[in-house]
């Protein structure tokens, strides 16, 4: 295959390829986490890496999230570039002191002396029937903390490019993957490329309304945009790709152009990512807006197990479609 060939990879394969390429490029890059080696994680994202890089660089840990995340911080400060694997985003709760009080602050508190070039990969997303402790999207918590960067790819292409950037970044980066997306396929170049942080991607151009969507919600927004097309509404879909740094300019410009915006994210609506982005748009595009910016996120409940209830808790193509029509005065 020629160097520049575009292949179809799954999201999981794109993540694995980014890791493998970075591990080949830089011997300091290593992985720790539960069942990351032979098992390749329960989602099989890391399959094959231990065979190529050995069990010192792909290190199976005990079920000690606080401990090995802290180990990641210390290792990052002293010469390694760890990629810490937290199987379910729900288990971030166990790592919070290490991330919030340690990783996020070390550089600043040391007057810029120490650096923490660590990536923490984890998952988000409901609708897998996994109930309240395996379905949360807790990324907003990390976005709140100065010193952390937060990336949330929505396609295999973005996953590879953003993960490479994350690994090369000298700051702690929290990298969220939608676990429902691992098998989704998309075009991914075989060659080395990176995607800079803080650059949003317009996934679809439109004129009448801006749908800002993150991670799992990008597909939902694109689906809604198709439905809206049938209703004569042209929707633009913008994916910020990194929550921090945030590409405020692209968001504001899109809203200025279309004059309406809905922000859709799988985290909780209250005090969440959607609130932040909505206020960025409201502040930046106020005089061009024809309607208040609307937020759509997870319902403010623990995610229920029962399928018919769980399905009510996250935005869908239909609920986004309905909200967009209402905002455009069509309801």
């Amino acid at each position: 295959m020629p160097e520049t060939a575009i292949r179809e990879l799954t999201f999981a394969q794109a993540v694995r390829e980014a890791l493998a390429e970075e591990m080949r490029r830089d011997p300091r890059v290593c992985i720790f986490g539960e069942d990351v080696a032979e098992a390749g994680t329960p989602f099989k994202v890391l399959s094959g890496l231990v065979e190529e890089f050995g069990s010192e660089r792909v290190l199976d840990t005990p079920i000690s999230e606080a401990g090995f995340t802290g180990m990641g911080v210390g290792a990052a400060m002293t010469g390694l570039r760890p990629v810490v694997d937290i199987m379910f985003g729900d288990f971030l709760t166990l790592t919070m002191d290490q991330l919030v009080n340690q990783a996020a602050k070390v550089h600043y508190m040391s007057g810029g002396t120490w650096k923490v070039p660590m990536v923490l990969r984890t998952t988000l997303g409901a609708t897998r029937r996994s109930a309240a402790q395996h379905s949360q999207s807790l990324h907003a918590w990390l976005c709140h903390v100065p010193g952390l960067k937060v990336a949330m790819p929505s396609t295999p292409y973005d996953a590879k490019g953003l993960l490479k950037t994350a690994i090369r970044d000298d700051n702690p980066v929290i990298f969220f993957e939608d676990k429902m997306m691992y098998k989704q396929k998309g075009a991914v170049p075989a060659e080395d490329y990176t995607i800079p942080f803080g650059v949003a991607d317009v996934k679809r151009e439109g004129e009448d309304i801006t749908l800002v969507a993150t991670s799992s919600m990008v597909e939902v927004a694109l689906g809604a945009a198709k439905l809206l097309e049938g209703a004569g509404i042209s929707a633009e879909v913008v994916d910020p790709r990194t929550m921090w740094p945030l590409d405020e300019k692209t968001l504001v410009e899109s809203a200025k152009k279309t004059s309406r915006a809905i922000v859709i994210d799988e985290g909780y609506g209250r005090y969440g990512v959607t609130g932040e982005i909505a206020s960025v748009i409201a502040e930046g595009a106020f005089f061009n807006l024809e309607a208040p910016v609307k937020r759509m996120g997870a319902m403010h409940v623990p995610i229920p197990f029962s399928p018919p209830l769980e399905d009510l808790t996250v935005p869908t193509e239909q609920t986004v479609f309905d909200a967009a029509r209402a905002l455009c005065g069509q309801a």
Binding site: E34, I63, S64, R129, V301, P304, F305, S306, P307, L312
Partner: protein, 332 residues
Amino acid sequence: MKTITDPAKTDNPVAAELGLRLYRQMVRIRLFEEQVNELYTRALMPGLAHLYIGEEAVAVGICEALKNTDYVTSTHRGHGHCLAKGATPDRMFAELLGKEAGYCRGKGGSMHIADPATGNLGANAIVGGSAGIATGAALTAKRLKTDQVAVCFFGEGALGQGVLYEVMNLASLYKLPVIYVCENNLYTEYTHFSETTAGDILLRGTAFGVHGESVDGQDVRAVHAVAQKLVGRARRGEGPSLLLSNTYRYTGHHVGDINREYYRSKQEEQEWKTKRDPIKNMGEWLAGQKLADRSALEKIESEVREEMKTAVEFAIAAPYPGVEEVDQDVYA
């Protein structure tokens, strides 16, 4: 390490009635889990199913030494604890299928069943997540002088969680009536415990002054005998203990974990199943002691089979919760 409790040497002769009850309870868990496997593979059960098959003697031996009012906390592999503590299979299956008749109105599912009526404070999908809860229940029992004890079931994977050691220290300081039961089934998800566990497990408790014992978790009489001893200590105010139960899960980490050869051999599985099956061995012991004949054991099995079949039918026919249920009970 303490030596394995030898039932022959305990002064706890198991009466025929108790023996048959232990046997029946184990059969109930086994056949319940076989139904779960069936429901799951027929795509009738959503989510994940972590089966307790092979480990029945641990839950049964311990829960039969508890009163209905005593507390247990459980794990993601919790159906056995739940049944052994007295829950009924119909409402359990209903919960597993997300139905309104379930113990948690379908909102918890397999990994979160709880039942106040039988002292079950809940299964838990966070490894080690219930260590604090069990310890807190023991604190209440002590403060309110209720004479209850709390049992915290956890897999050996939870030995990796720092919270376990924090609560052991607390329980020892305050002499709480709590028993930490480590179910060492040899594997976390896909990793042998020797690769994740350094040193001696019981000594971890010893360091905090927590009394430690280990037991053959495939021998229900041995588990029951040691449980009675530890429950007695707890009730007398002698403080917490750590019980290491050596056991084995026969099936995958969850039902979908089919190809397991990369982490354990078929031969190993076969050996546990044929030589150390808790139900088979208890059946043979009952027969050998002339406490029950073959037909009595077969009768138990067919009765339980019928019980489970009826319970599954109930659950399948039961309705889902109404949509208005979704935002109920977020706050008390």
